[in-house]
Symmetry: C2
Subunit: 371 residues, 2 copies
């Protein structure tokens, strides 16, 4: 076919007939449009309109105070002046990595992890590895991506003991389905943890408002990097998020989101158990997707093409592999329930199951042909 | 005093009693608040709210079409798919520099140029130089910063002949005071020019919407860098700018801005000629500031402190120097007229003149004391 996986996924994303388990997008119906609009209107009324003007590189002071207050409620004591507002979590991750590693340095990651972090590490000439010998780690302790796993207490302790630095990506930290939000690793160590947070999964990724907190001795360098990269995070979104947080019960909103996403996750898992009983997964503790392992190895690209033709998409598992050579395991996929209309989840799984059966039949036919 | 120049300028910027010739900020009263609000409201009505959702790294398609159409009117033929929307011009500059230079590489710049570009080049371990032997140049042909100069035809030709690559920073290209907008260098060479544009100086820097166009063979690498840096430029501002451009006469608005800023520039120059006749400057062809050379050398930091105490601020000239060692010239300053209320320009210059006279008296006193 010649079409790259990327092109295929783009075409699928643009096609309303395709039920999209790909992409890790939040549900657009859950964006708090009305309160964000009210926040925008207030921001645009402000004298001298800071929402449209240049701002200092570290970000809006009141926004940083609100972020510090939220972290304090989770047990992490951070001075607002230690927070740098970033253009999403991605920028925070790339700045963090450059602060604690040089070209050629190894960065310890989970066997499956966030693809855009892997891409950025590789562009920076860093080497993602699952080896236990590395001293700089990239981890998502609250809710990992793609597995949706939460680190247990022993692993948290071991991580902090072992690592000289941990880049803690807490992108999904607000979206654990059950229990109170855990303290971030940051609460246990300011000297070793470079903390990455974001409003992307809750208020909307299009705002591109994330934040970075680094060990105090690295702060000046972090801020310099941020300034060199893009001067400052966009003022408009900062003003909106700041106004939103000042006048809404964000925690109540987040609790509502958790319920929504948990319900979708359960619906997806129920459908998978019924229609694809050979596939296995560990129920995620939060986040936007379920990481599934199929019951046989298949050509991932061919299966994605077949699935898209059948009207369903997913994220190919190879993108999440830290060491893409490690192919001695079943084919895996990430199925995101987050942005699919709830009522379409079952139909999406049925289409997947049909594509899977057809792929199996095609394989048998090829084998028979070979005899 | 111990206070850094940075801290001093921050304090001055926050003090409403200080008339601010520092910073290079657009005038907040000229932000098109009402049409931007209308654009926001329309964007938030859109199905699935792309303004709040993730978007592809290259940016919104309709925005890129509008950018291409504007460039076409200035003589540069660019396919919308060759445009990458960036988080302001700053990100475009840093991406461009990394595409065409390696660590330790020399980048040819004007003797005085945009400080944040110099900072970024240095962080990237590049070496800004005014030497004529360099083959990658950073230039602002339409309106330079801080000098406000426009390249003549001979210099444009020589630049393109000499350079293997030119990073063309057209940040102030829309804001030439007189004459039709010139064709960018990009119009003369797609193979050598990396073009940087922005809406910061017109619609508002807080939006952080810039753009980058690179030679086609570098496009994939540029887009990869952009993705690794921050995934995408914020969707909200893209949606607003796109809506704004689709429903407003942006060129008419830009013409209005030119008139406003030209009038302020003239007012500032008239006041300078009257109250500081020893200072010299070349009238800028556009932009936000006047680059002045004083009639004697002074301690820049001490004079800035004295000026702020007298209720006026400016940008210290040393920040703009490509080779800060080159001190064999009079003290220079950038005086930005852009964000000062028009009626305050004369008073600002009077305060500057008083501080200058006082600095001269203090120097004489010190000299006499030394005898």
């Amino acid at each position: 076919m010649g079409q790259s996986l990327d092109d295929l996924l783009r075409a699928a994303a643009a096609d309303p007939r395709v039920i999209g388990f790909a992409g890790g997008l939040p549900c657009p119906a859950l964006f708090p449009r009305r309160p964000l609009t009210a926040a925008f209107l207030r921001a645009l009324q402000a004298r001298d309109v800071p929402a449209l003007q240049y701002a200092w590189p570290e970000g809006f002071a009141s926004l940083r105070q609100q972020i510090a207050a939220r972290l304090a409620r989770r047990g992490a004591a951070v001075d607002p002046d230690e927070i740098i507002v970033t253009s999403g979590a991605q920028q925070a991750i790339t700045i963090a990595a450059q602060l604690v590693l040089r070209r050629g340095g190894a960065i310890g990651v989970d066997p499956e992890t966030y693809p855009s972090a892997l891409d950025a590490f590789r562009t920076l000439h860093l080497v993602p590895t699952t080896s236990a010998q590395t001293h700089v780690l990239y981890r998502m302790p609250a809710v990992s991506n793609p597995a949706g796993a939460t680190m247990g207490e022993a692993e948290r302790r071991a991580t902090l003991e072992r690592a000289r630095f941990v880049i803690e990506d807490d992108a999904y930290g607000d979206l654990r389905f059950a229990g109170e939000p855990q303290p971030p690793l940051l609460a246990s160590s300011r000297a070793r943890v470079l903390y990455v947070g974001t409003f992307s999964k809750t208020l909307g990724p299009g705002l591109r408002v994330g934040f970075l907190i680094v060990p105090p001795r690295l702060h000046t360098r972090a801020l310099r990097r941020k300034t060199d990269d893009d001067l400052q995070t966009n003022s408009l979104s900062q003003a909106i998020v700041q106004e939103y947080l000042a006048t809404n019960d964000f925690d109540a909103f987040v609790r509502k989101l958790r319920g929504h996403y948990r319900r979708r996750a359960e619906r997806l898992m129920t459908a998978l158990r019924r229609d694809l009983p050979g596939w296995s997964f560990t129920p995620p503790s939060g986040g936007f997707g379920v990481w599934v392992a199929a019951d046989r190895r298949v050509d991932e690209a061919a299966f994605l093409r077949r699935s898209v033709a059948a009207g369903v998409s997913f994220d190919p598992g190879s993108r999440f592999l830290a060491e893409p050579g490690a192919r001695d395991r079943p084919t895996s996929f990430r199925l995101c329930f987050s942005a699919v209309p709830e009522a379409s989840i079952e139909e999406g799984v049925r289409r997947l199951a049909r594509a899977w059966t057809a792929a199996g039949r095609a394989r048998s036919a090829r084998r028979n042909g070979r005899r």
